[in-house]
Structure formats: structure tokens, C-alpha cells
């Protein structure tokens, strides 16, 4: 049902995806090195106790030398304390690095998402984005802090111990070495499967998050139609599917884990047989065998854990892929290299030159050859039937989308040749659906102009007839709910309008700005707005004649182009299509009984 592109997991099964973490890990490489060293040293310290035990058995016990015991015990004590201290150092260094890596990565993802074009957000289910920024990023954290370190340490431990085993008694050591061959072969196969299954689980988690988000944000619709059951069933289907995918994953993990658990035990049996034979032939002492066994038992955990660690590495690889898909998504709406702010007049001239636009993935263009010249200070109303492309047209001015043909200029400069920051400070938009954020009224209004003074805010509120905010419990400091839901529809719309007119922008774009206002309030807003409009270049989308009257000229949009341009009364007199759109419902009244 959702539309996010979901690449089919391929079976490259590559851990190479992990490499892209390096830029994030780099700043903390010192700490990571400390983590790693501490882990390695702690493992070595662990080796000390069996070795000391062997020394005790072969030394003081064999000789009955009580005095010889003391230095050995002191040594064991030293290593014991060292091991614990190293643990602490490892964890401390790990916290300091991996939590910062997680933070940096999440910041980066967030920053990237904010800058990805609206077209990207239209296509991606938001739950998929959320699950990447939270779950996947945490997976990375656990990988860097724990898995990567122990993968390295345990591999090194295995190698070192194998060498020690070879040194202690090479024929047995060689036997142990050979047993790792079938283990690796099996593991490799299952790891690959695990990678694919992890990806499926992660994607499904994103789907589930999407469902949750929709069910919560659409709660009014769900409630008003009494469709909780339907919504639940949808969610349940996905949750059940997630469970199935998780269980597939668990099965692979269990297989992996089991063989990694079987391996050392079988090897231990091999050692016993081989060792006994060797002792029998005199090639090995009993003390030597004890040491050999003790050394090998050091390997039990490292080997056992490798199964899990490799699996987690695979999971991280697919999490990295998912994060990478966001970080690699092209920033199509962005500054051209080397742009410098242009010198723009205020108010500025806004021109559409043969502008064409089609949404990605749809064949027919929404706009096709729009030509419109809005003189500085002029207000042009855009009128058109539902779905004729008015909102699309307005979105092009502030480059929420880029034109696919022709160009839009502000004072003669192509909007794509202006720095985005400049363009968007010149152009202010009131959208048809009033998006408010859950923060204070003031913050909502000054959204993009943190420098706005109280006087500016007051003026904007006055223009939008939004003085009701002063009656809220904490005035301008009152937090308004998400989407401003604790306000009425008209109140929300007026706040969105206040946001747009704040600071008198040189180009003002209003998309059906008065649709939720009653007639009296509308008249008041219009009166105040006229004053602002006189001094800015404005594009006003309108469905009602009352709004059209704010404009100096009207453009009629139909079939993707502007088919008529003139004053309201001209068009009314000359263009039947225009009359049709805006004229009175008197015929309806006549048609009604």
C-alpha cells in the first residue's frame, strides 16, 4: 500500500556496507582504539588465570612449595584487578564514542531529510524515515560500541590462542585449526541469509511505524466513521507479518548459534583424545595437557559469540544500507555551485516564462507553458478549477519543486540561480492547509524569521486578524498543539497567514488564504491585507470573488496554462469560463425548489 521505494534485498550479503560508517567513526577513532585495546588487553588478562593455574599445578603443587605460591597468587590478583579495570575503561571509552556516533549519525540523517526535496517526502512513507532515524541508527550504535570491537577482539583472541595452542603442542593445535574450516563455510552461508532477513524485518518495522502514524494522525476520521476495527486489522496484518519475518530471522540465528556452540565442544573431545594419545606416547606432559585444555576453554566464549557477532554485523550492514538510501538520495532542489546572493528590489518582479511542470512519475504535465508577469507591487489572483494546478504553480515560486520546463525569475534572476536561503526569505507562502507546530504561538509565527521584533509580530497578527492569541492563557507564549488542533480551523488559518505576512516579504504567495473564515472576519482580513499587498508582489490563489477582489489582475488557469488575464470585471464580462467559475449561485438557487 505504501509507496516508498523498497529495493529488493540483493544477496550480495556484503559487509562492505559497513564501510560507509567510517566517516562517522573517524572523529572518535582515538576512543575506539582505546575501547579496542582495553578489550584486547582484558582478554589477555583473562588468559593469565589459566596460565597461572597451570604454573601453580606444575610449580608449587608439584614441588610442595608453599612459599612459591605467594608471588603467583599476587600475580593472579594483579591480573584480576587489571581485567576489571580494563572492563571499566572499555565501557567508558565505548560510551564516549558510540553514543556520540549515534548522535552524529542521527543529526546527519535529520539534517539531510530536512533538505531533501518535497518530492522525496511525497513518495516516502514517514514511518520508514522514522524507523531509519531511530531503530537503524541505534543498531549502528550497538555495532560500533560492542559488536565491531568484539568481532575484532575475538578474532584476534582466536588467532592468538591458536598460535599458543600450536606452540604448546603443534599436532593438536593443527587439529583444532582444521576444525574451523567447515564452521566458516556453514557460517558464511547462513550469514548471507540473515542479512536478507534482517532487511525484511527492518522494512516491515518501518511499514508498521507508518501505519501507527497514519492511524494516530487520522484518528478523527477513524472515529467519525467508526472504523477502528478496519484500521486495527490493517495494523494487525502488518504486525503479524512482522512477527513471521522475525521468526524466520530467529530460526537462522538459532542455526548459526547452534553450530557455533557445537564446534568448541566437539573440538574439546578431539583435544581429549589427541591429548591422551600424546600423553601416552610421552609427547605431552599432563601439565601440558591441562594447559592446553585451559587455553582452549578460553576460546569457548569467543567462538560461541562469533556466530552472534557476525549475524549482528549483517544486521548492521542492512541498517547501513537503509540509512544510506536517505543520505544518498539526491538533493535535487539545492544551490547551484558558486551562487551568490543577487541584488533584488523590494517589491520584486516575478515572471513565469513558458513554465512547464509535471510531477515525477506522472506522464501528463500539470503546467504547460505558463507565462505570467507580475510587476513589482502588483497582486495577481490565480483562479482555476479544483485540481487545475494552482497550488502547484505557487509551490514553484519558492522552489518546493523545480520547474521541468521554462523558468521563473525574480527581478530577472532565475530562481534556480539564487541561493535557496535568499529566495525563501524573499518569498513567503501561506499554504492551503495551515501547518502549525507544537511550540509557542510566537515561534510558530516567526518560524523562518527568528529576528522578527515584537512590533513585526503584532503587525502580522493585526493583518491576519489573529489578535485572539492574546486571549490564550499565556498569550504569545502559549504552546499550541500539533497541527494547532486546539485552535479552531479559522484561527489556524489566520496564524498561517500571519506567518506569511510577517516582515512584509517582497514576494507573497497566498494559497486560498481565507477559505476557513466567516464573511465578517474575511472582510476585516481583506481590509488589512490590502495595505500589505500594496507594497509587495503577490500571487493569490482564490476560489471566491471576494478574494479575487484583492488583486489588481486575475489569471485564469486551465489545461495547464493561463488562458485569460485581465481585471476581474474584464474577465467576468469577456470570458465565459471565468464567469462559470466565479459567478453566482443564482442559477442553483433557481434550480432549487
Amino acid at each position: 500500500m505504501t509507496t516508498s521505494p523498497r529495493p529488493v534485498p540483493d544477496d550480495r550479503g556484503r559487509l562492505s556496507a559497513l564501510l560507509r560508517l567510517w566517516p562517522f567513526a573517524r572523529p572518535y577513532r582515538g576512543l575506539i582504539a582505546v575501547t579496542f585495546s582495553a578489550a584486547l588487553l582484558a582478554t589477555l588478562a583473562q588468559l593469565a588465570i589459566p596460565l597461572i593455574t597451570a604454573a601453580v599445578v606444575d610449580g608449587p603443587i608439584a614441588d610442595g612449595d608453599r612459599g612459591g605460591l605467594v608471588p603467583l597468587l599476587a600475580l593472579a590478583l594483579l591480573f584480576g584487578v587489571a581485567e576489571a579495570s580494563l572492563f571499566f575503561v572499555r565501557r567508558w571509552a565505548m560510551n564516549s564514542s558510540c553514543l556520540r556516533i549515534e548522535r552524529d549519525l542521527r543529526d546527519t540523517v535529520y539534517q539531510r531529510l530536512q533538505r531533501l526535496p518535497v518530492a522525496f517526502h511525497d513518495r516516502w512513507a514517514s514511518g520508514q524515515l522514522l524507523s531509519r532515524a531511530t531503530t537503524d541508527v541505534s543498531t549502528v550504535r550497538r555495532f560500533v560500541g560492542f559488536v565491531a570491537v568484539f568481532l575484532a577482539v575475538n578474532l584476534i583472541t582466536c588467532v592468538v590462542v591458536l598460535v599458543l595452542l600450536l606452540v604448546t603442542y603443534w599436532p593438536l593445535g593443527l587439529a583444532v585449526l582444521l576444525t574451523t574450516v567447515p564452521l566458516s563455510a556453514l557460517a558464511l552461508r547462513w550469514e548471507r541469509r540473515y542479512n536478507i532477513q534482517s532487511r525484511l524485518v527492518q522494512d516491515e518495522q518501518g511499514e508498521l511505524a507508518t501505519d501507527v502514524e497514519e492511524a494516530i494522525q487520522g484518528i478523527r476520521v477513524v472515529k467519525s466513521l467508526g472504523r477502528s476495527r478496519l484500521v486495527f486489522d490493517r495494523y494487525d496484518a502488518k504486525a503479524t507479518r512482522l512477527r513471521r519475518l522475525e521468526l524466520d530471522k530467529v530460526r537462522t540465528l538459532a542455526l548459526l548459534w547452534s553450530i557455533f556452540e557445537l564446534h568448541p565442544q566437539v573440538t574439546l573431545a578431539v583435544i581429549l583424545v589427541g591429548g591422551a594419545v600424546a600423553v601416552n606416547t610421552g609427547a605431552l606432559t599432563v601439565g601440558g595437557l591441562v594447559a592446553f585444555v585451559a587455553l582452549f576453554t578460553v576460546l569457548l566464549w569467543p567462538i560461541l559469540s562469533l556466530g552472534f557477532l557476525f549475524a549482528f554485523a549483517q544486521e548492521t550492514a542492512s541498517a547501513c544500507d537503509r540509512i544510506g538510501e536517505l543520505l544518498d538520495a539526491p538533493l535535487t532542489v539545492t544551490d547551484r555551485p558558486g551562487v551568490v546572493p543577487a541584488d533584488l528590489g523590494s517589491p520584486a518582479r516575478l515572471r513565469f516564462e513558458d513554465v512547464g511542470f509535471s510531477y515525477a512519475g506522472s506522464a501528463s504535465p500539470v503546467l504547460d507553458g505558463v507565462d505570467l508577469d507580475v510587476a513589482p507591487g502588483e497582486t495577481v489572483a490565480v483562479v482555476g478549477a479544483t485540481g487545475s494546478g494552482k497550488t502547484t504553480l505557487t509551490a514553484l515560486v519558492g522552489r518546493l519543486f523545480d520547474v521541468t520546463a521554462g523558468r521563473i525569475t525574480v527581478d530577472g534572476v532565475d530562481v534556480r540561480d539564487l541561493p535557496l536561503a535568499q529566495l525563501r526569505s524573499v518569498v513567503a507562502t501561506a499554504f492551503e492547509d495551515a501547518t502549525l507546530f507544537s511550540m509557542s504561538v510566537r515561534e510558530n509565527i516567526t518560524l523562518g524569521r527568528p529576528g522578527a521584533t515584537d512590533a513585526d509580530v503584532e503587525e502580522a497578527l493585526q493583518v491576519a486578524q489573529a489578535e485572539f492569541v492574546h486571549d490564550l492563557p499565556w498569550g504569545l507564549d502559549t504552546r499550541i498543539g500539533e497541527q494547532g488542533l486546539s485552535l479552531s480551523g479559522g484561527q489556524r488559518q489566520r496564524l498561517a497567514l500571519a506567518r506569511a505576512v510577517l516582515g512584509r516579504p517582497s514576494v507573497l504567495v497566498l494559497d486560498d488564504p481565507l477559505s476557513a473564515l466567516d464573511v465578517h472576519t474575511e472582510a476585516l482580513v481583506e481590509r488589512a491585507l490590502r495595505d500589505i499587498l500594496a507594497a509587495t508582489t503577490a500571487l493569490v490563489v482564490a476560489h471566491r470573488a471576494s478574494t479575487v477582489l484583492l488583486a489588481d489582475r486575475v489569471a485564469l488557469l486551465a489545461g495547464g496554462r493561463i488562458v485569460a488575464l485581465g481585471t476581474h470585471s474584464e474577465l467576468l464580462a469577456e470570458v465565459p469560463g471565468y464567469r462559470e467559475l466565479l459567478a453566482q449561485d443564482s442559477e442553483l438557487a433557481e434550480a432549487l425548489p
Binding site: 500500500m1 505504501t2 509507496t3 589459566p50 603443587i61 608453599r66 593472579a76 591480573f79 584487578v81 579495570s85 572492563f87 565501557r91 553514543l99 543529526d107 535529520y110 511525497d122 514517514s126 524507523s131 531511530t134 518495522q205 511505524a209 497514519e214 487520522g218 476520521v221 477513524v222 467519525s224 495494523y235 494487525d236 512477527r243 538459532a254 542455526l255 573431545a269 581429549l272 591441562v290 585451559a294 566464549w301 478549477a385 479544483t386 485540481g387 536561503a421 525563501r424 518569498v427 513567503a428 499554504f431 511550540m439 504561538v441 515561534e443 524569521r449 492563557p473 507564549d477 500539533e482 506567518r499 476557513a516 474575511e522 472582510a523 467559475l581 449561485d585 442553483l588 438557487a589 432549487l592
Partner: protein
Amino acid sequence: MTAQTPSPGHGTDGQENWRGVAAENADDLSAGAGVFLRARSRRLLGELLAPHRRSLWGLLFTITVQNLAWLAGPFLIGVGIDVAVPALIGGNAWPLVWITAAMLGAAVLDTVLRFVFLTWSGRVGQAVLLTLRRRVFTHVQRLPLSFHERYTSGKTISRLTSDVEALAELLDEGLDSLVTALFSVLTIGVVLIVLDPPLGLVALLGFPALFWVARWFHQNSTAAYRRTRESITAVIVQFTETLGGIRAVQAFRREPRNDELHAQLNEDNRRAQDRAFWLIAVFVPAVTLIGNLVTVAVLGYGALRVMDGDLAVGTLVSFLLYLRRFFDPLQDVAMFYNSYQSASAALEKLSGVLEERPTVAEPSDPLPLDDARGELVFDDVRFGYTDRTVLPHLDLAVPAGQTVALVGATGAGKSTLARLAARFYDPVAGVVRLDGVPLDRLTDDDLRRAVVMVTQESFLFSGTIADNIAFGRPGADRAEIEAAARAIGAHEFIASLPKGYDTDVHRRGGRLSAGQRQLVSFARAFLADPAVLILDEATSSLDVPSERLVQRGLQTLLADRTALIIAHRLSTVEIADRVLVMEEGRIVEDGFPAELVAGTGRFAGLHRAWADSLV
């Protein structure tokens, strides 16, 4: 939950101010509530695990046997060194064969049981998660709008994603490591004592210290993990809001400021986690240290006893091996305890949501309503969302079949009245009746079948247009869906889309224009075909001809239906039988449209202003 004092300046660093002041902060904890929260989260965990009691016993059994098999290894190799090697030297190979066979057998048993355990516990864990997901989701759906307005969607989303995942971590790693570890600890503990009681006693010396460390960890980590849940929630809330309003964010160059805010929340989260991780960074090494000290003591004492001839070397070696296996899993217990603390902080939050009472709930003794006629009565109703009263006193009777237009200034309380009629909220005083039955005595099914409201914001779900219309009546076939779309004049635009009714509308209907979204949500309500239809500015974004088409559709539809139509464009009024004018929560005028227009009251004024605004 204590009401916060109204101090706009609170959080004076200027960074916090952006949030603004709200009446209450659901996350604020009064002192002493912590204990209560812990109990609550434990209870929830208990409830979740209760249906799996048998499986848990089974798992316990599996893991016990598996552990015994696993423990057999070191034991057998000890025996091997002490018995089989001398026997082999003495020329008897059989003990070696037997012991090796036993080791292999134990290894295979261990492996098989480990596999069984992992898959089985995975099934239990996933079942618990599924139950939890279902439960929280259903519950959240049932909670009243007032809850959702207070709690915000970001927080609810965080509950259902991040918090549930915290529990998943516990179940993934926890069930396994705890059971394995506890059993290793218990069985090895027993083995140690049996193997050699005096040495065993020495080993037990470590326990008081362990207990003390664990208590320290418990006391500090509870609060620390609570903080981590709260701080990640704040990150998620900000994240979802930013993405939800991405157009406004980009158009108003909010990105740099949002970067800052996010960085700050994210850093808060890092700090909270750092604190919790720091605790564990002390706790686990402390356990290790205790273990190592005990090992040294055992080694010294054991060596002395071997020299005295009280103890075989093999026994000492085995004992030391076991001791290692005793303390290593104790670290796992410590780690489990850590996951548990983290999960129980999440469970606290989840149980908090689960304990929210659905105040606008279904009645326990509902009255039947088979075929609603649609008579709607407000009887002395008073209502306010907060302490502020929005509707001070409302008396209104709408006979079945009447079409009522509701007009008035913005913020007058029109939507509020409509929401009460749809029972989004219950009145503070008085009752709303449908066909003489108070709304709070109707089952949700009956009520929703009878009363449907088209809300101001036309929310569409991702999915096809057909799916969205069918939301009004699940199971409707394509012909019915088309008929509904035709009736309100939406068929034409839908048919002209490349995939027609199967066009995916994208997130929140972003693929459609605002007017098209309204048409689809209108068609959705049309298909639901209720006895009482409430339209809250349902045509505000339509062009005049489309609006006219909709009204024509409405005319037929509303012939035998009750309707409450809120609109600022008074053209709507022309299809109404009756007009109500609201002002500051009161009905100030009530009459036939023609009468009111001709009169000198407020509606006449409104109508004149509206007529002037046309053309």
C-alpha cells in the same frame, strides 16, 4: 500530573522557550510516583507473560537440560585427565572412548536443545510483542480525542515504536541470557558445593558484595532509564513534526533552527543514555572484580589443600574452570538486569498509556438503536475543552430529516457543537440525544452507523482512492464506490487520473489537490450513508462549480436525512431548512433561511455582506 505554574520565562536559557507553555506536562513526575510506576510496569510484564506460563516452564526445562549438557564438557574433560589418561597409559583405552563418546553426546544434545530453546523463546517473545502491540494500538484507538490532543501523535508513535522495541530487546536477549545465566549460576553453584564444600564456601564469600553492587545499580538506573525513554520520545516528536510539516519547514527556512533544536534534543538523549551506560560501566566490572578476587582466593586455598593432600589436582582444575563459568554468566545477569531496567522504563510509559481511561467510552449497558431516524437533541449542554467554557448553555432540537445550517464567526464554537453531536467528546453537563437515546448509551457501532462527520481537515490514508472511499463502508464494491463519487461530482477527476480509482494518493493524500482531497473525503462519508450527516466546512476548498455539484448531490442525499452543515459560504444555506447563528458559544438566531434573510438580525447582516462579496 500537576498543573504547571504559568511562567512563560521558565527555562531561561532561551533555548527552551520555543516550546511555549502548556497547562500540563504528562511526563512530569511527582516524587514518590516512581515506586508506583515500577509496580505498574511489573504488573504489565506479568500480564503479558501470563499466557505463556507453560512455555516458560518448558523453556526452563529445556535450558536446564541444555546447561547440564553444556556443563558436562569441563566435567568430563576433568575426569578424562584424571581417569582416562592414566588408564590409557596403563593400556586401557576404553575409559577414553567412553568419555569421548559422552562428550560428543553431550555436545549434540546441547546443540539441539539450544536450537529448540532459541526458536521457542523467539516464538514466545514475538507472541508477547504482538500482544503488546495489539493491546496498545487498540487502546490508543479507543482513547478520546482529548487524550490525543494532549499527548500529541509523536509521543504515541514513540510509544508504539521505540518503547515496544525496548521490550523486544529484553525479550530477544533477556529471556535467553537470563535463563541461561541463572541456570548456569545455580547449577554451577550446586556443582561447586558438591565438588568440594570448603572451596564452595570460599566461592560464596563473594555474594554479599555482589548484592550490594546490584542494589546500588538498581537504585540509580531506574531514574536513568526513565530519562532515556523521555528524551528519545522528545527526539521522535520533533522528528515526526518536522517531516509532517516539511513544506512549511522548507518554505520558511526553518531548517537551521530545527537543526539546532534537534541537535539539542538528540544531545539530551545522548546524555541520558550516557548516564545509564555509565552505571552499567561500573556495575559489570565490579561483578568481574568480585569474581576475580574470589578466584584468587580459591586458587590459593585450593593449592594449599592439594599440597596437604586433601584435594585432587583434577578437582581443583575443574573447580577453577567452573568458577569461571560461574562468574561469566553473572555478568550476563548483570547485562540482563540492564536490559530489564531499560525495558521496564519503556513498560512504565506503555502502561501509562494503557491506564489512560477511555473517558468517552462505550456504555456497559447500551440501549439498542436499530434504525436511527436521526432526531438530534442537545439538552442543556455545557462544554469546554479545558477550564474555559466554549459552549455555556446549549438547547437545541433538530427533528429527523431536517437540514440545519450552522453559521457564525470563526471560533464561535460551531465545530465544537458538531463534535459533540458526533460524540468526539462528552458534554461537561447536560446530554445529547439521538432519537431520544443519550449518545453515551449507544454502542460505538450503532452511533457511528447513525452519525458521520466530515471534518475540517480531510485526512486521507495512503492507499488507493478506492480504498479511501471504501473506508466509509468496508466491503463496498467498485460500483458502489463509483456511485458515491459520481453523486458528489468526484468521478470525473478520478477517472481522468492515470490509474483512475486505483491511483495511490500517497501519504496523507499528497498526490491530490486540496479540493480533490475534500471530494474524496466527502465521497467517503456519502458511501457511509448515515442517518445524521455532519459537514464541517467540507467544501471550503472547492471551486464554485464543484461546490454546486456537491450540493446537488447533497440535495438528493439529504432528502430524508438529518444534516448539520457548517459553512462560511452561505450558498450552502440555500439547501438548508433551518439556519442557526452562533456567537461565542451561544445560538443567537434560529429560523427559516428566507425569514432570517428578510429580517434585520445578524444573519441578515451576514447574508448581505456575503451577497456583496460575490462578483
